[in-house]
Symmetry: C2
Subunit: 400 residues, 2 copies
């Protein structure tokens, strides 16, 4: 039998580690012959653009480099399968290509949109009497997938954000004048990554002094009041804000819509910078961590990368055991010591759904994160991967 | 005798390493008693805000942590000394405070504005018959100081920028659609840091496909033509552009002026993004590396940090040997193997002057860097500092 694997959605530092997990498990499994990589997610399965991964990932060194290379080595897509009732053409096409290549299990590494694909495709294959298994491997820096304790890719993003915000704190604190520094962090609807900046308190940082999540109410007046009250205590005020925080009265904010109909916001940092400029008048700077927060593998979390590989390999075991239409999940058994197990859940329980940052970990003023959340976040950023360097720069794995 | 040290200008990853160099050399020198740290640059000398550094930097571990902590532990300033002919009040004040604390040598770690201070203050002290020495220790991520081969802080910034642009290349290359990614890099007038992205070619990257420096002519038409011609060869085009690149016809760009009368530009990345959106219409994103490029010590260059410490300690030796009004400089003896020596030059030769990226290392089309420049840049980003970690995050030294 052969298997296939594909990667989808926005890049993270851990998607390739999950691919390596699937690949290594296949190498260990005598009944698996070829491992095909589908180019640009499910699009490769539709267009029959597959690659025999054993021909390109040839050595242990290749696997180690790929594990620490960010983004998706097989490309990605934002393609959403149509409802099978209205259009079953692509389903037939995928089935045909899977059959043609004797693929008996397909692994899709992605976020909640990809789990929609896992759910629909597995249902279709069952409905036509096929025995081909479809398993989802989660990934997203947003940490917003239900059922799983956390998502592969999140820990590395949180580690980068913590290290970077700490450096920004040092940078912002040098002058003797008052200043406000606003750090805009990814998260359209869920504030997990922004909230994770609270881990800096474990290293004796007071900042960020204010943390705003999309889960909370937000207004310009309240924000300015919060900043002013922090300025009474701190010369350099540091604010962490999720990109998805809404300023309802600000009609100037650009709103775009991606292929899935998600609103794509940008610019809350700039809006808040302007507010401070206009109403407080001190030195102010906004900083967007932009794509670096999802692709900065040079400071990835070893815990995240190791788990991402493991959840990929566990996915293969589940498919071989006969499961389909499932997403692999982490279950946390204990914070200290940190212990997880890997299980599976119905992909339909995850598809198109979001998990929000819990209200119980947000303070009453809705501008800070409570200490209880630190215990959740800290284990996820532990450990450093020994990054392979050449000429003073990290080495990335590339398809030849 | 006592000595004093201060830090000035914008943060880098190496300013504290130079402070450690001054401090360690003082510890080794029997005739030096106290090492005073002047708070917020020369302002501390004027206001008599000094700190006995032996009371706060107490152990070898403190020194090692301080060496790898970004920004300026003693704070910074952008204060410029007035011409002594028009106003000698602050000079008298500084002289008074130096004398009061038996300070016989003052070390100023900073950029070309700080060398103006070194030049003026040393001339004043000589003119009033004082024997107090003033020595400048260079720093700036811009690498734009004359006389010295390169500046402390530049190598670490270049290493961060190279690693980050490589990650952005991976991130930008995942989708099957055409895209343009514009990375805006610091450099108001000198394009050294932007040019340094050419080091990625040593690790088999083709990108950045286009590199624009403030030293070159630039127009919207030429830029769009360059992008279109790169799109014929590359699906995902990556552009590196210095913040100081001028779009003469773009009246929308905000121009602010800092205390030294420097124009402070922001937003060339956004302007180019808009140009691509309007005239090419493909997916486009601009990314500002912002303060991270000057303060991301978690991926600093060992060569840079080691040299920054060494140039600080050499400065102490020069002052004790009787030099004053000098800035310490690196002289490069060889690229391969990389060999430098540390010498001193007149601070007046550096004060208020800028060194531009050489025309001979820019291609004829003025949109790329020639391979000869790689030999200059590569030695500066070599080696990694073992970063002290706690709770999964770097540990920063803080004054108690």
């Amino acid at each position: 039998m052969n298997i296939a694997v594909a990667q989808s959605g926005g890049p993270t530092c851990a998607i390739n580690a999950s691919l390596v997990g699937v690949f290594k498990e296949a190498l260990k499994t005598p009944e698996i012959d070829a491992v095909f990589g589908s180019i640009n997610g499910i699009e490769g399965m539709i267009k029959d653009e597959l690659m025999d991964l054993k021909l390109v990932i040839r050595t242990n060194e290749d696997m180690e480099l790929l594990r620490q290379t960010p983004s998706t080595v097989l490309g990605s897509c934002r393609y959403k399968l149509p409802a099978v009732e209205t259009d079953d053409e692509v389903y037939k096409k995928i089935h045909e290509n899977l059959t043609k290549h004797r693929i008996e299990a397909f692994f899709y590494i992605g976020g909640n949109d990809s789990m929609d694909t896992v759910d629909k495709l597995s249902a279709y294959l069952k409905s036509v009497g096929s025995d081909i298994k479809v398993i989802g491997i989660p990934k997203t820096i947003d940490n917003d997938l239900p059922v799983t304790d956390h998502t592969p890719g999140f820990g590395s993003a949180a580690k980068y954000v913590a290290a970077t915000v700490q450096e920004i704190i040092r940078d912002s604190s040098v002058y003797s004048i008052e200043s406000v520094t606003i750090v805009e962090i990814m998260g359209r609807h869920a504030g997990w990554l922004t909230a994770s900046t609270c881990v800096l308190r474990a290293n004796d940082e007071i900042a960020p002094h204010l943390i705003y999540l999309p889960e909370c109410n937000f207004s310009a007046e309240k924000f300015l009041e919060d900043v002013r009250s922090m300025q009474a205590k701190h010369k350099a005020v540091i604010v962490a804000v999720s990109e998805g925080v809404k300023l309802p009265q600000d009609s100037k904010r650009p709103v775009a819509v991606d292929n899935f109909g998600h609103e794509y916001l940008s610019g809350i940092g700039k809006s808040l910078e302007q507010l401070v400029k206009d109403h407080i008048g001190c030195k102010v700077r906004s900083i967007e961590l932009n794509v670096m927060q999802r692709c900065s593998s040079h400071i990835c979390s070893k815990t995240d990368i190791d788990e991402a590989e493991l959840i990929g390999s566990e996915g293969v075991k589940r498919a071989l055991a006969g499961e389909t239409g499932k997403m692999m999940v982490y279950k946390r058994l204990s914070d200290v010591p940190y212990v997880i197990t890997i299980e599976s859940a119905e992909a339909s329980a995850v598809a198109n759904k979001e998990k929000f940052f819990p209200r119980r970990w947000i303070n009453d003023a809705q501008n800070d994160i409570l200490p209880e959340a630190e215990k959740y976040f800290l284990p996820l950023i532990q450990g450093e991967v020994k990054i392979a360097m050449k000429n003073g720069m990290p080495v990335h794995f590339k398809l030849k």
